[in-house]
Symmetry: C3
Subunit: 126 residues, 3 copies
């Protein structure tokens, strides 16, 4: 059920968005109990000026390689699970794709389980 929006720069390789998405999906599977094949993602690439970032915030310095990840998912993950998810995504985007750990921005939006229809006009979760 997570719907993942990934916004990144036009200057990044064309396949980077989906590579990031694959790692996010694996992180969700392993850290926050997302079912297999529950992989719905929207990648949007933007011109340089359209991803606005501060030079730094909370001591973190950002570059033009900033990746903004917004995940809509069901309520109910604990703080510890969320922490594990953030850590894992930053680790993997850095380790496997060379993205700076500072440039991994994640936001979660939580919704009720009846707020999804995965096709066929049905409410699959409630």
């Amino acid at each position: 059920m997570p719907l993942v929006r990934i916004d990144l720069s036009n200057d990044s390789p064309e396949t980077l968005g989906t590579a990031i998405g694959e790692l996010i999906y694996q992180a969700m599977r392993d850290t926050i109990n997302v079912p297999a094949d529950d992989k719905f993602q929207i990648v949007t690439r933007h011109a340089a000026g359209e991803l606005v970032r501060p030079a730094s915030y909370l001591g973190i310095e950002y570059s033009a390689g900033l990746v903004m990840i917004q995940v809509t998912l069901n309520h109910g993950r604990s703080i510890d699970l969320k922490k594990a998810f953030y850590r894992r995504v930053a680790d993997d985007l850095h380790g496997q794709l060379g993205i700076r750990r500072e440039d991994v921005f994640i936001n979660l939006v939580e919704v009720a389980k009846e707020n999804w229809s995965f096709g066929n006009g049905e409410m699959q979760y409630a």
Copy 2:
């Protein structure tokens, strides 16, 4: 007050996004008590790889024609109303636009009624 984001493929006809939007609006009017003329929608078309989907999930098989619909609206619709909305959108996108029922993905994000300004810098609902 719903803000509707419709994400679909670049390969679809240029007018498909707004045709989908019109049917979603009619479905909202008829099933979940959305006022007349409350029609605010953002259509975004994406290159093939940028709408990521599984081959199948929960027994539903997806195609490149997948349409992802994310609706931000006020809290308070019952499960039955949401079910009616999902059904109606899938029925109409299929019946009137030929979209596969499996390819209609819907997510709702609920907010408080004071979370909207429809223009003029006013908070119209609270």
Copy 3:
């Protein structure tokens, strides 16, 4: 922590999105207690038909210059603070950028403070 999505027309000047973003950031600083340098924004420009609007709603008439602003931020701002934010954004977009006050559409999505990672794989707020 606000993540601000700004959707506007392709027909507007290329720099308008970031100019709007700067004013939104200043309004957040001054009206809803957003920390300095907490400025993360995603601007997306759309073809004419892709920003769907009614001719009018609640007595407000819209033009092709409609700007749709969706802000994800932490729970907890009062109704009065939100009102002040709406007013300020409409005032400044009008006064400094010549945007019609009617064309300033704002929606807030509220989340828990543990729903953010600002980089480094950390949960900075919880």
